[in-house]
């Protein structure tokens, strides 16, 4: 190899990590690479809505379950070491950006999750939660990372491009139209039986299954986005099972009661109560 060839090869090795799926070694670097901070200057209301949603707390709201997966599942039941590949079973939905973390950072995040739940020191717990809160399902995750439903056929999302249902051009960033984002299937990537990168199916969430097999199969035609975003101008708050008004919208009550007297001669006062619980949602209730 000539010295020019050697120099080119050496430069290539330096450039490749930056250009082809960089790996990040700290939570801050990873969070910065996926930062939603610049989105709010133009999309303030959407950003505020998202900030109040559970998508913005997708790790810290689910700490107990993820901690149990690490400590009980990996540690006790499967007797497996904590690794990025194993952690991605949870994180490919709870913080998909972790795919771009180094192995060491993934292990560090697993440690933070355990600390946030188990540590006796409240200060350490709070510090761990603060760090973990930087990783979530944010603008970049939905409008880029998760947008390609057929990436093996049509390719992965393009770096730096924001995909949306309308694909309206913006001077701030490249935009492309994504019809997939209006489908229930888009949400079903995580809100249904999920296949993480290791290929094992997880029954962590079953909503999309009951949507298809219960709701659509019985004539329902609305999508997740119709009820959880468009109706009532709910937008990017994505309200669900934790919002009483949302649950009330989904369950109707028909209450009938009659007073009768039973047992001729004794005439015992008796109540006959008929209840109808009307599931108006697009999935079974309760569901997860």
């Amino acid at each position: 190899m000539s010295w020019i060839g050697s120099l080119f090869f050496a430069l290539l090795l330096i450039v490749i990590p930056l250009g082809a799926g960089a790996e990040y070694a700290t939570v801050d670097d990873l969070a910065k690479a996926y930062s939603e901070a610049s989105c709010k200057s133009c999309h303030a209301k959407v950003h505020n809505d998202w900030k109040s949603s559970y998508h913005s707390q997708s790790i810290v709201h689910s700490l107990g379950g993820i901690r149990n997966f690490i400590v009980v599942g990996l540690g006790q039941e499967w007797k497996q070491p904590v690794s990025k590949a194993h952690l991605m079973r949870c994180m490919s939905c709870h913080a998909p950006m972790l795919k771009d973390a180094t192995e060491d950072l993934a292990k560090q995040v697993a440690g933070l999750i355990v600390t946030a739940v188990d540590d006796k020191d409240e200060g350490k717990k709070t510090a761990a939660k603060t760090e973990l809160a930087k990783l979530n399902v944010n603008c970049v995750v939905c409008h880029n990372t998760m947008v390609s439903l057929e990436k093996n056929l049509v390719g992965a999302p393009k770096p730096g491009v924001y995909y949306s249902p309308a694909g309206k051009a913006s001077p701030a960033h490249k935009t492309e139209k994504s019809p997939a984002m209006s489908t229930a299937f888009f949400c079903g990537q995580c809100h249904g039986i999920h296949t993480p990168p290791d290929g094992d199916a997880l029954v962590c969430n079953t909503l999309y299954g009951s949507y298809q097999d219960g709701y659509r199969a019985n004539g329902g035609s609305e999508t997740c986005q119709d009820c959880h975003m468009k109706a009532g101008n709910r937008g990017h708050k994505f309200p669900g099972a934790y919002e009483v008004d949302m649950v009330r919208d989904g369950i109707g009550l028909d209450f009938q009661a009659a007073a009768i007297r039973l047992h001729p001669g004794k005439w015992i006062p008796t109540v006959v109560v008929n209840i109808g619980l009307i599931n108006k949602a697009g999935h079974r209730i309760p569901d997860g």
Binding site: G219, Y242, T270, V271, V273
Partner: protein
């Protein structure tokens, strides 16, 4: 989710009329009920199916001498173990002639 029906008689006695629970029962591959989402492989569906009305009927005798009762229906939703949302509460007054 829990449906509870109670009656409070004119004498102040509270009589449980009926209770039903609706939930997804997660099972592992050996048929054990498991809580961790990562452990569950099958779901026994004890929920309210979409686009359907689930009907319940309760018949209960009240103490002799009751002349009226307030029948109360309460529907409570539990999105998490320690989180409780009262979705519906309704009362009907019944009189025994």
């Amino acid at each position: 989710m829990v449906l509870e029906v109670t009656a409070k008689t004119d004498k102040g006695t509270v009589v449980p009329i009926g209770k039903k629970e609706y939930w997804e029962l997660g099972m592992d591959m050996d048929g054990y009920h498991r809580i961790g989402a990562w452990q569950i492989k099958e779901v026994i569906d004890l929920t309210l199916p979409p686009r359907k009305t689930t009907k319940e009927r309760f018949v209960a005798e009240l103490p002799e001498g009751t002349t009226s009762a307030d029948v109360e229906v309460k529907v409570t939703y539990f999105p998490a173990a320690k989180t409780e949302l009262v979705v519906h509460e309704a009362t009907k007054k019944l009189t025994f002639k």
